[in-house]
């Protein structure tokens, strides 16, 4: 096999990994701070992609507008859901919110199916980002490089945000020590709403970025949700570094299994998860007895 081919597959794995990184970052921040496993996370990702489709095809705005508007729209939807429903169940066992978001997932998915139809919608790569770039040793599609750059910038930005701001300090308190977030009490309910909005916005952004490389269709969120769960289990729930590392690893496993052993493309990541559970139950960077 040509080294250039393997390199381009490696880059494809990185790009796919970036989508998982964005999704699992949102999931892990929400879980770490609010203790909610958001089953609607995949549906919010799908909403991001459909928002981009609507803005680009019906409002005729450019891709940059999609990149800015869609995460905000999805974040706003997430915040409404948190305020109206999810926040009412914080004091109850975790599984109530799990079931609630599971139901929300069905509602969003079916609503989109009713509005846009069950079959997928095409979404073209924006003109500016079409074509390939010469990296010296190979040509690589511009748009995919763009995803890499955006994810890297965003992960860096998120890290700065969590390290340097007050809201970030609350997220750190939550992900470092579950009781700490509890001790902060319910009078910071708007902070919780904002954090849920942040998680939703991140998945919305992942949806916009994925739209041109994947088919925009109602089931796209459901398909990716469980894989994102695998990423956070492997990375360690509540760990930002863990999400990034595990997201990239899962991207590589998926991409290379498609190249070398296609039937494994849907199953190998679960086998890898089993391996991690046997050797290191808490995941790469997870802490013992965190939210257990």
């Amino acid at each position: 096999m040509e080294p250039v081919f393997l390199f381009s597959q490696f880059f494809n794995g990185l790009v796919l990994g970036c989508i998982y990184v964005l999704l699992s970052l949102g999931l892990t921040v929400v879980f770490g701070t609010l203790g909610v496993v958001n089953f609607a996370h995949g549906a919010l990702y799908m909403l991001g992609a459909y928002a981009a489709y609507t803005i680009a095809n019906h409002l005729q705005l450019n891709f940059l507008a999609c990149l800015i508007l869609c995460p905000l729209i999805v974040a706003a939807i997430g915040m409404v859901l948190e305020k109206l429903l999810i926040s009412k169940l914080y004091k109850l066992p975790h599984y109530y919110n799990l079931l609630l978001t599971f139901g929300i997932m069905f509602i969003i998915q079916d609503a989109i199916k009713i509005i846009f139809g069950p079959e997928g919608e095409p979404f073209n790569i924006p003109d500016l980002l079409q074509g390939a770039v010469n990296l010296g040793f190979m040509y690589y599609p511009k748009y995919r490089l763009f995803i890499l750059v955006v994810t890297a910038l965003l992960s860096g930005g998120l890290w700065l945000f969590i390290e340097k701001t007050r809201l970030g300090a609350i997220i750190r308190a939550g992900t470092d020590n579950a009781e700490m977030a509890d001790a902060l009490g319910t009078n910071i309910s708007w902070t919780f709403t904002l954090i849920f909005g942040l998680g939703a916005g991140l998945s919305g952004l992942a949806g916009v970025l994925a739209a041109p490389i994947q088919n925009v269709q109602p089931a796209m969120g459901m398909d990716i949700l469980v894989q994102t769960f695998v990423v956070v289990i492997i990375g360690g729930m509540g760990s930002i570094g863990g999400s990034i590392l595990a997201g990239l690893v899962i991207g590589q496993i998926l991409t290379f299994s498609i190249v070398f052993w296609p039937p494994g493309s849907t199953t190998l990541i679960y086998a890898f998860m089993a391996l991690v559970l046997v050797t290191r139950p808490r995941g790469f960077f997870g802490r013992v007895s965190f939210f257990e």
Partner: protein, 309 residues
């Protein structure tokens, strides 16, 4: 006390009448059978979720494995109904042991996510292994042979057969939770540290409970395969895993009878919705939201508080 005993007898009589008359009360006989099949599933699920306090989000795996195991046995191996159902249960138990062993490494919310991920693994294996399972076309042509002299091919006769299995499963389920083993499970659920300090090994008990509930799920799956003469791929899917949780929760977890009622009502409601409208998944979603927000303690507990206090 006397009042309680009277309620119990009244309950049994009402239950028996409803069970015997069920095929005539619902739109078609096979629906009544399906309601009881999910009730068997819910009895098993209540043992792991209600009594052990572990939320499995992957129990469709065992329902589906039971269905495929029974279906494949009937197609390729045997025409004995009990043996085929036993093969389905065996297949599910063989998978449940390592899956339970790995899942019980984690508690709480992780348990839900890990079981869900393993269930997806099994779903995709069935999806890929077309030559054996039929892939996404499902397993076609599962026969429904007669049970000794009893011909099960009529839907009505099959209903009464499933009813008999359901009663056995219910008695078994109640015996399990009232046994010392069942008491130990509840002790572990209420206070793991205390139960450990008197010598119970939580992981062992959780694993056994997981395997038992997988067995019930597989029994239900096997009956389902014979009912439909077919095993759909979605029998292993996320929707079923979610539905069984909803059924148990709506009925009232940790009451055995509650999940039975929850399962029967939800199967009925779902069938009704899907016959009336195309947007039933949306309405099911609303049902999830409404039941979690309003009667999350379950109908049996709510009714008990209101009328039997």
């Amino acid at each position: 006390m006397q009042l309680k005993a009277r309620h119990k007898i009244a309950g049994i009589i009402v239950g028996a009448v409803v069970l015997l008359a069920a095929p005539y009360l619902v739109p078609y006989q096979a629906l009544a059978t399906q309601m009881l099949i999910f009730a068997i599933f819910a009895i098993g699920f209540d043992i792991i979720f209600g009594y052990t306090g572990l939320l499995s989000f992957g129990h469709a795996a065992f329902f589906g494995l039971g269905a495929y195991g029974t279906g494949l046995s009937l197609i390729h191996l045997t025409s004995s109904v009990p043996l085929a159902l036993g093969m389905g249960i065996l297949l599910a138990v063989v998978v449940a042991i390592p899956m339970g062993f790995l899942s019980t490494q984690r508690h709480g919310i992780y348990f839900a996510m890990v079981t869900l991920a393993f269930a997806q693994l099994i779903y995709f294996i069935a999806f890929q292994w077309r030559s054996l399972t039929g892939g996404d076309d499902g397993l076609q042509g599962v026969p429904r042979p007669s049970l000794g002299p009893v011909d099960l091919s009529s839907d009505l006769v099959y209903y009464y057969f499933v009813m008999a299995v359901f009663i056995l499963a219910l008695v078994l389920g109640v015996r399990i939770i009232r046994s010392p083993f069942g008491r130990a499970l509840q002790a572990l659920r209420e206070n793991t540290d205390r139960a450990m300090s008197v010598g119970y090994d939580p992981r062992k008990y959780k694993l056994i409970s997981f395997v038992i509930s997988a067995g019930f799920a597989a029994l239900a799956g096997g009956l389902y395969a014979m009912l439909q003469n077919f095993v759909p791929l979605f029998s292993l899917g996320l929707d079923i895993s979610g539905e069984i949780v909803l059924m148990t929760l709506v009925g009232g977890m940790g009451t055995i009878y509650g999940p039975v009622i929850g399962a029967m009502s939800i199967v009925y409601v779902k069938d009704f919705l899907s016959s009336q409208t195309d947007i039933w998944p949306l309405i099911m979603g609303v049902l999830y939201v409404v039941s979690v927000m309003t009667f999350r303690r379950g109908v049996v507990k709510e009714l008990k508080e209101r009328f039997f206090k």
